[in-house]
């Protein structure tokens, strides 16, 4: 029979181990994020078919982000195929993690750009939230009706954000711009 005292000590030990391990893991992750360079962050961007993303995005908006007058022409099936379905959207979602890390980098390295960094973080999380809505729709079996609208707009946002990130990279005169351009 386990006494109350033994139980207390055992749970305390378990709690402590859990806290130490979690703190260690997240501290290590934070250190890794803090040690990230601009280059290593952008290298983490998932490989997405930029041509297809651009096609889906530019079907909805023009290069300046303004809605096109003609209205979208691509249908759901084409958008699904071009973006690689839900898997493709998940890749875009994962890339938003990089955007959040980029915000971390900007805030850490350039505290004066705090407002921009915070906004960048907010928007990246919002894109992730929209993608999560798509996942929810997929689970409920409503994906077909939701996909075209949600995915096309998320892709358009993503397209413009990555395009401007690329411009940012170029403006910062950072090495490896051409390789990155090819990757994006």
């Amino acid at each position: 029979m386990i006494s109350r005292l033994d139980l207390f000590v055992a749970i305390s030990a378990l709690l402590l181990i859990a806290l130490v391990v979690t703190a260690g893991v997240y501290w290590k992750k934070s250190r890794r994020a803090a040690d990230s360079t601009w280059e290593s962050l952008l290298e983490r961007l998932n490989d997405v078919n930029r041509g297809n993303v651009a096609r889906v995005a530019l079907d909805l908006i023009d290069e300046d982000g303004v809605n096109s007058d003609a209205g979208p022409e691509l249908d759901s099936t084409e958008i699904w195929k071009l973006l690689g379905g839900l898997e493709g959207m998940e890749r875009l979602e994962a890339n938003c993690d990089v955007l959040i890390d980029l915000a971390f980098y900007v805030q850490r390295e350039y505290p004066e750009a705090l407002v921009i960094a915070e906004d960048l973080r907010l928007k990246a999380r919002e894109i992730q939230w929209h993608v999560s809505r798509l996942k929810g729709a997929a689970e409920r079996g409503n994906l077909e009706t939701s996909f075209a609208d949600y995915a096309q707009r998320a892709a358009a946002t993503y397209y413009l954000m990555t395009r401007h990130l690329l411009a940012l990279y170029e403006a910062g005169n950072l090495p490896g711009y051409s390789q990155l351009q090819a990757a994006l």
Partner: protein, 259 residues
């Protein structure tokens, strides 16, 4: 109340360490950024001086004053965490997005586990005041350890960096709180009436742990944080562009979802 030579050295080192820490906090003007942390150290100094004199008045008065200080000490330690949270999660004029709800969850969970653990433990004393002090001390250690880890997770997930001095204060407090869990559990296990020497030895180890954290704070708060870089003009302009485009598009996205 007799102090052994080792206890006296520990007590003196802790008191002098607090004075040095205060000198750093005021000398380097850190108190402007960390007023609550500074108040907590000031309280420790006042407590040490007060308890030194109160011990001549008898054990009843000593326990009353000790308990009163312990209550204020616990409250201040929790506010130190809140102060750190403001530095981390409210880098601008408003709290960062998605923070409040997550932080409320962390606090609720920490409280639930802390209260559960404190209820489970049976303090090694039959005296009511002693029981209250030991339980409150253990609760504070569990709560702050959990808050430390919770803040670490939340800041990483939200991509919010810790400035150097905030990080050092929270790390020191987090480590000291974890030492508090170890010592609290072990003291409960060995029991005061059963093994007086072991109980005191654990307490001394905890004081040594505090001294290490104290000097960690002194050194890290004495040192200057790395100088931030100047944002190149073109990079700044481009960042604003990214921000504007994203705002514009997400606004439309939200509108279309509402319609």
């Amino acid at each position: 109340m007799h102090l052994s030579g080792f206890d006296f050295v520990n007590w003196l080192a802790s008191f002098l360490g607090n004075l040095v820490l205060l000198a750093v906090l005021f000398g380097k003007r850190r108190f402007e950024s960390f007023p609550v942390f500074t108040s907590w150290i000031v309280l420790s100094v006042i407590r040490t001086i007060t308890l030194f004199f109160v011990r001549f008045l008898g054990s009843s008065s000593y326990f009353y004053v000790f308990w009163s200080f312990a209550f204020v000490d616990l409250s201040l330690q929790l506010v130190v965490f809140y102060e750190a949270a403001i530095h981390i999660f409210r880098p601008g004029p408003v709290w960062a997005s998605h923070v409040r709800r997550a932080f409320a969850w962390i606090i609720s969970l920490a409280l639930l586990i802390g209260i559960g653990m404190t209820w489970l433990g049976v303090p090694a004393t039959g005296e009511l005041r002693g029981t209250i002090v030991i339980r409150a001390d253990f609760l504070s250690s569990v709560l702050m350890s959990e808050l430390f880890v919770g803040m670490l997770i939340l800041s990483f997930r939200l991509g919010l960096p810790w400035k150097t001095h905030v990080a050092r204060i929270v790390q020191g407090l987090g480590v000291y709180s974890m030492i508090g869990i170890i010592s609290g559990s072990l003291q409960t296990y060995v029991g005061f009436p059963k093994d007086h020497a072991a109980y005191n030895a654990i307490f001394r180890c905890r004081v040594v742990g505090f001294l290490i954290c104290q000097w960690f704070w002194i050194v890290s708060l004495y040192m200057e944080a790395p100088e931030p870089r100047k944002l190149p003009k073109e990079m700044h302009r481009q960042l604003i562009l990214v921000q504007k485009r994203a705002s514009l598009l997400l606004g439309r996205l939200s509108e279309s979802q509402r319609s």
